[in-house]
C-alpha cells in the first residue's frame, strides 16, 4: 500500500512542479472552448445547443496532451526498469499512475467546466450535467490513454501515434458523454440511460486499461 501511495504522491508532485503537465491541459481546454464561439459567431441558441459537444471535444483533446509523457518519462530516466522489476504488481502500478494522471489533468478539466459553460451560454443545469458527465467519463479517457502510452513508450516521438491509436477507442465515451449531457438539457431520453453506460465504460476501461498496459510493457521488454 505504501508503495502505491508513494507513487501517487510522486507523480502528482511531478505534475504540478516546473515542467509538469498539470496546467497545460486546462489551458488547452480553455483555448479550444474560447475560440469556438469566434468561429461559429454570436448565435446564442446555437452555442447553447452545441455547447456540451464542444466541451466534451475540448476535454477529449486536452486529455491527450500529457499522455505521451505518462510512461515515457519513466522509461527515459530508467525509473521504468525499477518499476518493472519491483515486487508490486505491474497492473496496480499502472492503475496508480493513471489515477495520479487523472487527478492532475482530468479533474482540473471538470473543475474548469462551470467557467467555460458561461462562455458557451449554458444554463446552470446544462453546465452541471456536462461537469458530471466529464467527471464520470474522463477517467475512461485516461485509462484508455494508459494503454496507448504503454504501447508507444519506447518511441522517441510517440505523441501523434498515441493519439491516432487511442482516439478511435475513445469514441464510445464521447458519444455517451455528449448524449447524457444533451439528455439532461433537451431530453427526451432520461439522463440516467446514457449516463449509466458512460459509467460502465469508465469501470470497464479502469479494469482493462491497466492490465493491457502492463501486458504491453512486459511484451516490450528489451
Amino acid at each position: 500500500m505504501t508503495a502505491f501511495a508513494a507513487l501517487l504522491l510522486r507523480d502528482m508532485r511531478l505534475a504540478v512542479r516546473v515542467g509538469g503537465g498539470a496546467l497545460v491541459g486546462v489551458l488547452f481546454f480553455l483555448l479550444v472552448v474560447t475560440i469556438v464561439p469566434f468561429a461559429i459567431g454570436p448565435d446564442l441558441a446555437l452555442l447553447a445547443r452545441i455547447g456540451p459537444a464542444i466541451l466534451w471535444l475540448g476535454a477529449l483533446l486536452a486529455s491527450l496532451l500529457g499522455l505521451d509523457r505518462l510512461i515515457a518519462a519513466d522509461h527515459e530516466d530508467g525509473s521504468l526498469d525499477l518499476i518493472l522489476a519491483a515486487r508490486t504488481p505491474l497492473e496496480l502500478t499502472m492503475a496508480t499512475k493513471a489515477v495520479a494522471h487523472w487527478l492532475t489533468t482530468g479533474l482540473p478539466l471538470v473543475a474548469a467546466t462551470p467557467l467555460l459553460g458561461l462562455l458557451l451560454n449554458l444554463d446552470p443545469t446544462a453546465t452541471g450535467a456536462v461537469a458530471l458527465t466529464l467527471a464520470a467519463g474522463t477517467p475512461a479517457l485516461t485509462f484508455i490513454g494508459l494503454v496507448g502510452a504503454a504501447l508507444t513508450v519506447a518511441l522517441r516521438r510517440g505523441g501523434l501515434l498515441l493519439a491516432v491509436l487511442i482516439l478511435p477507442l475513445t469514441i464510445p465515451v464521447l458519444i455517451f458523454g455528449v448524449a447524457a449531457s444533451n439528455a439532461a438539457i433537451v431530453g427526451p431520453i432520461p439522463f440516467g440511460t446514457p449516463f449509466t453506460i458512460l459509467c460502465a465504460l469508465t469501470l470497464m476501461s479502469a479494469v482493462i486499461g491497466p492490465i493491457a498496459a502492463a501486458a504491453a510493457l512486459r511484451q516490450g521488454l528489451d
Binding site: 515542467g19 526498469d81 518499476i83 522489476a85 521488454l221
Partner: protein
C-alpha cells in the same frame, strides 16, 4: 534456511536478431562477488538486465537458491543501471524517499543512507542541480536504504571521483560481509579483492 546461492546455467541472449552471448553459467554464494568483464558490445549490460528480469533469456535457467521462494530473482535484487532513475524536479530526499517507499524499505533509513553516500548537506536540493557523480551517489544510496541480498551493478563506478569510488568499494565490502551477493559489470578494478571473474568474449 539454506545458504543463498545465485545459480545461472546455459544463459543465452538475443538482441536485435544478433546472438549476444550463449552458454553463460555461473554459481555465486553468500558473500561472493562476480565481476563481468569484456569489450564494448560483449553483452555485459545485457547479462545484467537479463539477471534483473528486464530481458527475457533465449535459453537457460536462473535461480536464487535459498532466497524467498515466492519472489523472482529480480524482486530480491537491486539493479543499478546506466540511468539513475531520478526525477530532476524532486529534491534529493524526495527522490530517495520515493524509491525507498516504493521498493518496500523503511522511510527512516533515507537520512542514514544519504549521510553514508555524503549527500546529507544537499538533501533539500532539487536533483536537477546535481552533478553526474552526485546523481550516481544518490542512486547508490537506494541500495543501502533498502535491503536486498543481490546487487546487480552496471559500471557502478562511472562518474564517481576517487573518494566516492573508495566509498562504493567500502559499501560493497560491507554488503558482502553481511552475506550479500554482487554481480558487477566493470571496465576497471572497483576495489573488490576476492571476486570471481566472468569474461565475455565479444563475438561480433
Amino acid at each position: 534456511m539454506d545458504l543463498m546461492r545465485l545459480v545461472a546455467s546455459d544463459l543465452a541472449c538475443i538482441r536485435g536478431g544478433r546472438q549476444v552471448f550463449s552458454g553463460i553459467g555461473f554459481a555465486l554464494g553468500e558473500g561472493e562477488a562476480l565481476v563481468i568483464t569484456g569489450p564494448n558490445g560483449a553483452g555485459k549490460s545485457s547479462l545484467l538486465r537479463l539477471l534483473a528480469g528486464l530481458l527475457r533469456p533465449l535459453a537457460g535457467t536462473l535461480a536464487l537458491e535459498g532466497g524467498e521462494p515466492e519472489l523472482t530473482v529480480a524482486e530480491q535484487a537491486h539493479y543499478l543501471g546506466h540511468q539513475d532513475a531520478l526525477k530532476p524536479a524532486l529534491t534529493v530526499t524526495e527522490n530517495l524517499d520515493f524509491w525507498v517507499r516504493f521498493l518496500g524499505g523503511q522511510a527512516a533509513d533515507v537520512t542514514t543512507a544519504l549521510a553514508e553516500v555524503g549527500l546529507a548537506s544537499i538533501a533539500a536540493l532539487p536533483a536537477a542541480y546535481l552533478s553526474a557523480g552526485q546523481r550516481r551517489r544518490l542512486s547508490i544510496a537506494r541500495l543501502i536504504a533498502v535491503k536486498r541480498p543481490l546487487w546487480l551493478l552496471d559500471e557502478p563506478a562511472s562518474a564517481l571521483d576517487i573518494a566516492a569510488q573508495a566509498m562504493l568499494a567500502a559499501l560493497m565490502r560491507a554488503h558482502l560481509s553481511g552475506g550479500g551477493l554482487i554481480v558487477a559489470a566493470v571496465h576497471g578494478p572497483i576495489g573488490l579483492d576476492q571476486s570471481a571473474e566472468l569474461s565475455l568474449g565479444g563475438s561480433r
